[in-house]
Symmetry: none
Subunit: 205 residues, 4 copies
DNA sequence: CATGAATGAGCCTTCATTCAT
DNA sequence: TATGAATGAAGGCTCATTCAT
């Protein structure tokens, strides 16, 4: 668990996390001032430190919270879905939709990568590893069923994840996040055409 | 031009840039100490400011230099190449190869995105826009020649760029940059299968 | 009385004082954390403030308690003793023995001198003044009886007190408190030889 | 050497040390504000850190400087002196005179003992060890010459040092330092009478 | 031009103290 | 009465930037 500091008041805990997302996303890690976070969360600066220990752990907890929400969003979107193509398409769509609705989290995502590259159990990587397993199963099944080509599952999974990640990181700049969902959809169409055994039609969409 | 400051000594100018790449890549933007950069470049701290104005501009110039080298690498790789598929494949390979050989630049790339998201004419975006034009021409020609499906050129280009970008950013962590080239190759195979009119074979590679 | 705050529970009061000795002796006044004292005393932080008002007063009360114990130790040791030489020797021995058994108090002693030099009715000085009177009487008597030289009583008393104080403060470092008693004994032998009218023997001890 | 930080300007170096003596003596270690020291030295706060690294090292350097001056004072006073009794008397007098003229240093002395008890190569102890050797030689010679009793040299030296230390620490409070010299003189008379083979007269002074 | 000593704004973090429960 | 969560003033330290030499 990231938060070894006991949580006394879940309301305050959440208020601080919400303020953190805002401030870190706006100012970056180095540029963020813990005092500003405290002010926006309407708590004393000491309280921020009581709950999260230090600036770095606060940031990591913020990223962690974002990843949890993302994961929940995706899992909810693919609940009861069984078809591999639908699974891929819907999870990608949920991924894009999440960051389109929460562009601040895309900033957190990139900041974590930039500030703590590998030096620390990268929250995003932890979640990626976990969800990657699910995706690999889906692709493996698609290949087994003759739906997909005999792709190298691990490589195809990486391509999928990197495509989504690159699109979000690139697309969430300058408030361009509005088109994120459709950009991802088109990219995933190409990806699917790339691994499907029988091409479905002329051109995507 | 980014460096409005007159360059007196190209040797020193380059030494500072080289030191910058190292230090920024190692420590991030906020964590980098201009004194350390000056020391590694074997010049006085004042000289760094003489040549680059301030820390931010130094960073931007560093990123700019990286982009120039990347661009040169790619252009060299596709010189005299005419076939759209080859053009796509070889430019992707050159892109991956560059970051595999210069993983520090991948850090610079991500730092620029993280620290200066949109607030500043993003060097990377400038180059991307420029090279995107070239790529769009290639895809447009592939479509016209019946080699590719009737994809939406702009979307396909984005997918290609985001796929490369995501792979590099993700792949250059933890010293995993070794496999970067092959990961990109596989991903581009899927991408190509995704836009080719006639699938070339069973599975990529 | 130092503690104007009414004492509700003598057990807690004492527990806090005991914890204070430990923590102040270990960490100094500035370095001590009231929370740590509360934890060691097994009471809430608020209770510490209830009983002692503030950190400074807590420290002063701690020093006060030490002085009381020291005084009791010495008075007990010289009870029923009448000979001036024995009185001097035994009180010095009791002084040394007390700090050898309670080296933490030597730290408190030095901290009080260091942190509150004169700004505050120095507990140690209060006790010193009181006990100094007793000692002056003893020396005055020794002089009157022809046992001691015609020393200036006030100066001799000061020399005695400063000798003891200096030895304890110097000797309680580095866990060297073990030899404290014998060091004081030897020093007092020299002191006694210095004020005795007729030297008793060749060399002390 | 304590000061690993290169000294660029001896004037500033000294100005900071002078300000340090004042501020530490007035406010204690924890109570001292480096900004105040910088202000009194008429330099920027950063300059203080440039020259002394951190607050603790600044304090230690301050104590070190005091010890050097004390040592120089004493050595100057006993230059060309040969008689053991004179050596003892004059060095004690110089010791007292130094602290009477520089009562702030007495505060530094006690602060060092209080804050850094043994945790750090105590500057005072280092000097004491060095000068103790000289004193031991003097007493040894006095004993050999039949001038002093057959005292245990080490114990007598400790008694002497502790007597001086205790007197200074006790006597420099509340601006009582005026009487320091005479108090020490009287105490040393008793000490000398205590170790002399043949008592010189009735009573000291 | 080049330098690096000097500066001080800025920010993280601690902890004495308070007060609602 | 006892508690300990909350607070924010205070201060150590860093480092981008400047400017006298």
């Amino acid at each position: 668990m990231l938060s070894v500091h006991a949580v006394q008041d879940p309301i305050k805990h959440q208020a601080i996390l919400n303020a953190s997302i805002e401030v870190f996303a706006e100012s970056g890690f180095g540029g963020a001032d813990v005092q500003v976070i405290a002010d926006r969360a309407d708590v004393g600066k000491g309280t921020v430190y009581r709950y999260f220990g230090n600036k770095k752990d606060l940031f990591l907890a913020t990223a962690d919270a974002g990843m949890r929400r993302l994961e929940a969003s995706i899992l909810e979107a693919i609940e009861d879905v069984d078809d591999p193509v639908d699974l891929i398409r819907l999870s990608a769509k949920a991924y894009a939709s999440f960051f389109q609705r929460n562009p601040k989290f895309a900033e957190i995502l990139i900041l974590e990568r930039a500030e703590f590259r590998g030096s620390i159990p990268d929250t995003h990587l932890v979640y990626r590893a976990k969800n990657r397993g699910i995706l690999e199963e889906v692709i493996k099944r698609g290949v087994r069923d003759g739906l997909f080509r005999k792709v190298i599952v691990r490589e195809a999974t990486s391509a999928f994840a990197n495509l989504l990640y690159g699109t979000v990181v690139t697309g969430c700049m300058e408030g361009e996040s509005r088109r994120l969902e459709s950009t991802v959809e088109y990219a995933i169409d190409i990806f699917l055409q790339g691994i499907l055994r029988n091409q479905k039609g002329e051109a995507p969409r």
